[in-house]
Each structure stands twice: as structure tokens, then as C-alpha cells.
Symmetry: C2
Subunit: 73 residues, 2 copies
């Protein structure tokens, strides 16, 4: 499956686990809410810098997300 799609699903799962909205996450990362929505739907894929910002906002390690992504590929 496509990396962007899997990443989007993971991002959405982690955000929901933390009970935060796309709006709140966008403020935490200084990203646009629309961009978070595009990422979650796999319509955009993040740069590694954005991966680290999102991970930090969600209080997980970037490597944890990448390991889970590898498991699902």
C-alpha cells in the first residue's frame, strides 16, 4: 500500500488516541488544519521535519511512527 496512505492512517489513529482535534494538532505543529487533513487522507506526505513536528506534538517518537509504518507496508 502507498506510504502516504499508511502514514495518514497512523497519524489519524495517534491523534484520536491523544483525543485532540485536527485544529488542535495544527496549532501544536504550526501547520495548517487543511494540511493535517490532507496528510491524514494520504493526499500529501510529510517531509522528515514535519514528521518530527507531528511526532513531538503527539508525544511519540518519529522512529516509532516509522517502525509502525514499516510493519504495515
Amino acid at each position: 500500500m502507498d506510504i502516504a496512505i499508511i502514514f495518514g492512517k497512523l497519524l489519524r489513529e495517534e491523534r484520536i488516541k491523544k483525543s485532540i482535534t485536527q485544529e488542535e494538532l495544527s496549532h501544536l505543529c504550526e501547520l495548517d488544519r487543511t494540511y493535517i487533513s490532507l496528510l491524514e487522507r494520504g493526499l500529501r506526505q510529510p517531509s522528515i521535519k514535519t514528521l518530527f513536528s507531528l511526532s513531538s506534538a503527539l508525544d511519540i517518537k518519529a522512529s516509532t511512527i516509522i517502525i509502525e509504518l514499516e510493519n504495515r507496508l
Copy 2:
């Protein structure tokens, strides 16, 4: 230190460890040689898809690169 700079150094180290040129790596990943050079100098940062392509070409896991990046941050 900047994520792009650390990533660039890591990429260069791994490429040299595998004894391949930027030119050869660019062919393996279907990326431009100039782009590989920009990445190695930290002047560009990869998307996660590019991270996976580069890792695959260098025969290492994407997560190994991200873990090393976290260690150096």
C-alpha cells in the same frame, strides 16, 4: 542542529559506507543526482517516500536512519 543537516550527513555516511557514488545512488532511487547532492548538504529534506527509497537503495531500514537521526538531534 537542523534535521536536514543531520539527515544529509547520515545519508552521505551511509552512501560512502556502501561505496556508491551520488550518481549511482540517484539511479537506484530514480532521483536526480543534483537532488542527492542537495540532500547530503542539508539544503533539501526528503519526504518520507524519498526516505524509504533512499533507505531501500542503501539496504538499510528507514527506521534505522530515523533512530540515528534522533540520537544525533
